[in-house]
Symmetry: C2
Subunit: 384 residues, 2 copies
């Protein structure tokens, strides 16, 4: 029996990377939709907006003036979710008491950065060519390298990087050694983004956050169970052979809709070889990564001919950690986009999904096929 039956029946798929299930209901796309319609995002923004705190030469909330940057620009978030300095927390409840069992908290410090992807106010990743995306990858790499534990095996690799280090004063190495750096982008108002100027965020924390911790556990377990095999090496190879869920690939990366995708057009970019983090890449690999990001974001916009909203982010090795944690880590990027049927109808992960189990309507295979088929010139450029 072939697996094509999964196009017709409701089933659960196992997310091997998280160790969790998702419910797939392929027949459910036929349901009529009378719910919320998103506003398709405005596409006629100026190159420069004098009121935008991310445009070159403008003044930010804290009074600093942005430089006249030409590629990327990084600064410390004026409204950081975590701070470098704060009072220490010592629980009031006695250790071993019932209260200490029920009410457990720990202080978290860290540093939050904003990274402008371009000086141009309206340029999104989808509008940018691979060579224009490359400096963003280089800046991520630099910032990650600068925050590595000097004792990590990755620090040695980082020390021979062939890209120019960042030398901005306000992104100097922080006082403390942080545990993890989460690089991400929220794009579009539907994804909580409050400024259309192309930018991402980078949060470093003393804690290893939930999601990378869950994945690390699974990656490490796979390596142990299968005598040193790497889960995502095996996975990328197998996907690349099958092709059914592939959206785009080059020599270094596989990009496609994961077998266990939750969001309708979710995509994962995976390094084919075992790469622990950004600093493991050479020039060619960075170039090929920028090509993947360009291919995916352009297809997203082409799919419904709209500025496709998403949250995306990098999972990679912690800044400091055990040898097993670092050697089990495998660089990959997740794209989580909410749209389902059109520029205005999204998938809601709500009631059943929040209370019981993530649920999707179209199959990952159907999603991959549609994304595969909408490569080529960005629709906005065709119209001009």
């Amino acid at each position: 029996m072939s697996d094509s039956i999964l196009n017709d029946i409701s089933h659960r798929r196992w997310n091997l990377l998280r160790g969790s299930w998702i419910l797939v209901s392929p027949h459910r796309t036929k349901r009529p939709w009378q719910g919320l319609q998103e506003k398709p995002s405005q596409t006629t923004l100026p190159d420069y907006d004098e009121k935008c705190y991310l445009c070159p030469s403008n003044t930010r909330a804290n009074g600093s003036k942005n430089p006249k940057f030409t590629e990327t620009f990084v600064f410390v978030n004026d409204y950081s979710a975590v701070k470098e300095e704060q009072q220490e927390y010592h629980p009031a409840d006695e250790e071993g008491s019932l209260e200490s069992r029920l009410f457990r908290a720990e202080g978290v410090t860290g540093k939050c950065y904003v990274i402008c992807f371009s000086p141009c106010h309206h340029l999104t990743l989808a509008d940018m060519s691979a060579p224009e995306i490359l400096p963003i990858i280089e800046t991520w790499t630099n910032l990650y390298a600068a925050n590595l534990d000097p004792k990590s095996p990755l620090a040695k690799v980082a020390s021979i990087l062939t890209i120019p280090p960042i030398s901005q004063a306000d992104i100097e190495k922080p006082n403390a050694q942080y545990r993890y750096m989460q690089i991400f982008e929220n794009k579009g108002t539907a994804m909580g983004c409050s400024n259309p100027h192309p930018h991402g965020q980078i949060w470093t924390t003393t804690s290893l956050p939930e999601e990378p911790a869950i994945e690390l556990q699974q990656l490490s377990k796979y390596r142990k169970d299968w005598k040193g095999s790497q889960l995502l090496v095996d996975y990328a190879k197998s996907e690349s052979n099958k092709q059914t869920r592939t959206v785009f690939e080059n020599e270094s990366f596989w990009a496609g809709v994961p077998y266990w995708a939750v969001w309708p057009f979710e995509v994962m970019i995976v390094s084919r070889q075992h790469k622990r983090s950004l600093v493991d890449f050479n020039d060619k690999e960075r170039k090929e990564l920028s090509e993947c990001i360009s291919e995916i974001t352009r297809r997203y916009d082409n799919l419904f001919e709209t500025q496709f909203p998403y949250s995306m982010g990098i999972h990679q090795a912690p800044l400091t950690g055990s040898e097993d944690e670092i050697e089990s880590s495998h660089f990959h990027i997740h794209f989580y986009p909410p749209l389902l049927r059109s520029a205005t109808v999204r998938k809601f992960q709500v009631g059943y999904e929040m209370l019981a189990e993530p649920q999707r309507d179209i199959t990952p295979e159907q999603a991959a096929e549609r994304l595969r088929d909408c490569g080529g010139t960005l629709y906005r450029k065709k119209l001009n």
Copy 2:
């Protein structure tokens, strides 16, 4: 040192019920908001809408005509996410092969119901009095009872229920024994709800979904670790003593913002005594549960003087399961509402939250205080 320092520093809290962390950044509420503004929901709906497929006497998509119901009305969802009958799935990949390790799926069948809370098109739970909510609880109880495994210890309890059983033909006992019944409500367009007629959903499946499974694991572990103690009994007692996170309570239930709440105004209603599921409640307890639901939903609407969107749902014992699973289960209701600062500004669980860790801005204690303080008459009724 008192725990009040947690009002000022960023920290993580441990969700004992899920076994996971969330990041709390109390100082972050000062951040200005230029992002998406929700449309506050329309409040002038008619009592009856001839185009609504949930109003009494109207015809649904499948051609059936709704009865002239007076309290609740249950029917099988015309666009069910899972079905009672479908082809069986047998994986194409050989057992033990690399492929079978990476690509794991299983068929899921089940039955999805819709429950109308009232014949009146515009009446929400917040508008309804506790006695008006009681029939909903009775219907949930009946449907749960009808779907129990006859061999479950809960089936005996259900057989002596003092409420009249439902006798609608289309909600007859299904052919198969399902594993879990998820009862939930999505309220408001912001929560993916596509029809304002007050209604909830009930999905039963052959699988035990992720969230109840995760909680069950934690509940069972606690019982084992602490010699038969029940996590949520200990928790409700301790919260009721502290009062800092209490929103409302009566003899049978504690309702408040959990210590580990993710959503700004998240609320949990917990039975103080160990009750495994709906069928364990007597008349007094059902009455007190309806009082809690009424108090919480009314406060929600009063908070920002709007139709407060949320997803809510019941976690309780599986329909069939091991003795440990059934005895570790503890009835509770989660409310997950997205609004943060006003009727139009919501909290987004996006980039960092999806990729790294759930994050909240106001503390659960601040949220509980505000909800405590807005009891009393529903704001809409005061205006009239």
